[in-house]
Structures are given as C-alpha cells and as structure tokens.
C-alpha cells in the first residue's frame, strides 16, 4: 500500500474520529447528527429490514438501467456525431452548456409520458449521464492519431474497415473516463429525482426520514448511499488501472 493511500485512509479515519468526538461531547447536538458509531449501529438495523433492502435494490436497479442506457446511447450518438462534422459543429454548444441546465425540471414531463413509476427517474438519470458519454466518446474519436489512419490507408483498408478495426478500438480505450462520469451522473440523477419528486427508492426514504425527524433512519441510509457510490467509482478506477494501463500508458511519450 503506497504512502499516498495510507495518508488517505489516515485522513478519513481522523475525520471520522473528529466528528465522533464532536458528537459525543455535545458540540454537535444529537438532533443534528448522531455520532458515527451510532450511525453504523443503526445501519445494521436498517439492513435487516426487508423493506429497506427492497428500496435500496430499487434505487440501484434504476441507476444501473440509466447507466447502461446512457452508455449505449451515448456511444452511438457520439460515434454518429464524429461521423457528421457539420451536425457536430451545430450541436457542440449544447453539449458544452448542457450541464448548466437542471434537467430534473423535466421530471413532470416524463411523469406525463411514462406514468408515476420508476421510468421518469431512470429518464432523468439517463439524461444526465448520456451527454458526458457523448462528450467523452467524441473525445476518444478526436484523439485517434493521424498516423494510425495513414497506416490503415497504406494497408488498403476501406472506410468501413478503418472505422471498425482502427478508429473504434482506439476510441474505446478512452471511453473509461466517460464510463466513470456516466456512473456518477446516473447516481446523481436518479437520487435527485427520488429525493425531490417521487415516492420510491432510497432518495425518497431519506427525504421521508428527514421530514419525520428520524435521524436513526436517515443517516444510515445516507451512509449506504455514499458507500455504494464511492465503491462503484473506485471499482471503475481500479478496472481502468488494471486493464487499460498496459494498453495506454506511455502512449503520449516517445
């Protein structure tokens, strides 16, 4: 374990300890936040509730659906835009300003379209995640070095073969950034929709617990959410380091 990782763990542990002390001493009132140790204990109780587990599973399923749809659609749309530079030039300003728009305001529109179920939530998560996937796919396509395209021509590959065997595989190497961001945005979209607007899922449970002053339910759920989001993110980081490192390291050095 590197020094950096040890320091990171140390910082996190110290922070938890600090908060624990603040809570125990009363500097942070128990009405505001229970001590971290108590949160963990409550977590155990939560995880034994079938209903809660169901809600957690529901949220995760929605996030996964939004993510998968966003990755597929984002990649295809990005590839399409890369192939049509005129269209791309027109759409590019939207892509760049997209994240300034709070897309969850379109939630009611989706409720009308899909009904009061989990599809509007998935749609919000999808809308948030798809654009970052498009942007990163375009980035991957842009970065194909001209010398690779020239080599393809020397080997007398046709246009289709060049796209299939040279451009797509190269772009795919750089999509991992898009995947990481897409996961993050899918989480944010689904949770935000649940939190503010719907009657289902983890976000809703947190909001409900907040409204009913149930810190013993709210904080553990928040903890679960944080842990899951972080784990997924770190998992993708690790996958990227392990599988892609040997294909992309040193690429930019001569």
């Amino acid at each position: 374990m590197s020094a950096v990782t040890r320091i990171q763990i140390g910082v996190l542990a110290a922070a938890c300890l600090f908060v624990e002390l603040l809570c125990r001493s009363g500097a942070i009132s128990p009405l505001t936040m229970p001590p971290p140790s108590a949160i963990v204990v409550d977590l155990g109780a939560i995880l034994q509730s079938k209903d809660m587990l169901g809600q957690i599973a529901r949220t995760l399923a929605d996030v996964a659906a939004a993510f998968v749809l966003a990755v597929i659609a984002g990649f295809l749309l990005g590839a399409g835009l890369a192939a049509l530079p005129r269209l791309r030039a027109v759409i590019e300003p939207i892509l760049a300003s997209y994240y300034a728009i709070p897309v969850f305001v379109f939630y009611p529109v989706f409720v009308v379209l899909f009904g009061l179920n989990h599809y509007p939530r998935i749609a919000i998560g999808f809308l948030l995640a798809v654009v970052t996937m498009i942007i990163n796919t375009l980035n991957g396509f842009d970065r194909v070095p001209p010398v690779l395209l020239k080599s393809a021509r020397v080997m007398r590959l046709g246009r289709v073969a060049t796209v299939r065997h040279v451009i797509l595989p190269f772009a795919a190497l750089y999509i991992s950034t898009g995947l990481k961001l897409a996961v993050a945005y899918a989480f944010i979209g689904v949770i935000a929709a649940e939190f503010i607007l719907s009657g289902d899922g983890m976000g809703y449970e947190i909001a409900y617990a907040f409204n009913n002053f149930e810190n013993g339910v709210m904080y553990p759920l928040i903890l679960v959410l944080l842990v899951v989001a972080t784990t997924v993110n770190m998992g993708l980081y690790a996958w990227e380091r392990r599988f892609l490192a040997r294909q992309t390291a040193h690429r930019d050095t001569s």
Partner: protein, 267 residues
Amino acid sequence: MREPHVIVEGATRIYPGTAGRAPLHALGPIDLTVRKGEFFSVVGPSGCGKSTLLELIAGLQPLTAGRLVFEGVTVNGDVPPGVGVVFQQDASFPWLTVCDNVAFGLRRVGAPAPEIERRVESALRLMGLQAFATAYPAQLSGGMRQRVCIARTLVLEPRLILLDEPFGALDRQTRLLMGDELLRLWRATGATVVLVTHALDEAALLSDRIGVMSARPGRWLEIIETGWPKERDTGLVERPELSGLTARLWAHLRKEAVQAMGGGASG
C-alpha cells in the same frame, strides 16, 4: 542496369488554400527513377517536401501535376498493392498485442490462419520481438515499438518499402543499430527501399543513391551515387570516403538549410 520500379515525372504538390491560408507549393517538379532493389535516400532541409514526395509515391496524397508510375500502374492518391510505409510517429495499435499488431494486415486481407501464424512468427524473429509477442506496445520502448511497426509492414511482403524518418525519435546508437538491421532486411527481402532522413551521415552510410533536395518547394540539387557494395553495414563509418560524401551533402545543404530557417546566418 536494373529495371525501373518507381517512375516519377514532373511530380508537383501544391496544398490548396483554405479560408485562413494561402496555397502552399510544397514540392516539385521532381523527376526520379528508382530502380528495382535499390536503396535510395532523400535528404534536405526542414520543410523541403521530402515527406510529401514519399507520401505521393505511396499514394497517400494526390499529385497536383505530373505523373507517378509504380510497377506499371499509375499512382495518384490511392495506395497501390505492394507498398509498405514506416512513419516517424509510432503507428502501433495500442489495443493489440505485438503479435496481433503484426498479424493485423494479414488478417484484414483474409489470409488463412496457419499462413498468418507462420509469417508472423518469422517476422517477429526477424525483428527480435519473439520475447515480446504477448506484450502491448505501451509496455515497450520507442525503439521496440518502431520495430513492431516495421514487422507489421514486412509481414505483408511489400516490394517497395518507404520509410519517413523512421528513426527520428531514437538516440544515435540505436539509430546506427537500426541502420544495420534495415540493411539486413533490405538484402533479405530484396525490396526497393526509399528512405527519407535528415541525418546526412545515415543517408550516406545506408544508400546506393542519395537525392539531395532544395529548400521548399523541393527540387533536386543533385543525385549522388555512393558506390557502396551491397554487403555493407554501419562498419562503413570507418571508411574515409564516408566523410567525403557527408561533406559533399552538407556543402549542398548548408545554404538550403539557412534559407529554410528564414534568413542569413553568419558564414
């Protein structure tokens, strides 16, 4: 006298202007006949058009004027069969192992699997890459990656091999070693080789003939016969004739190089 392999007549390349740029007369007119099996080098100051000439011969760029014939076929912006190109930049495919990189071209033309295996194996051996067959290019040094590109080119058994400053990014010692290897491959394959390089001694050392190009737009200043025997290697550095050759090249190029840099330097 060996038969002509590549015939270039009045080849000219002018890059068309765009909204922000005037047209650029990059090369020509150039006349050249490269003989079958010969090792021909092109030297010249920066930006003189040597790479452009190479790409015209390869069919990677269209001619603005003139004619180019390879093995009896007119070449103009389309790559004819039988040509291999090694570029200065690393053209290895990072998502494929060394072995898959080398096999790439053969797989695309649908050669049968045992044939592919045989030829790849032999190419890897020829370039000293067997130990790295399952490695990825990103894990190799620059010189090794260039060997992968050369192997990938050779495995397709091209009759004309074009190299555009292939050793540009490598250090001097590696360059000399690669020069030896290049000569070895040239003799082994019997291919015609056209090498573009900015290193005068490298051109003087390796070639049968050297084309000295002027500053842009490139035209021939002289085409020099070296007279070296076919069985040669970089041991030639010991020969006194080499420095005479290099001096002759530099005498031409000194003036051109100054002009290319945009002004009179002190004498």
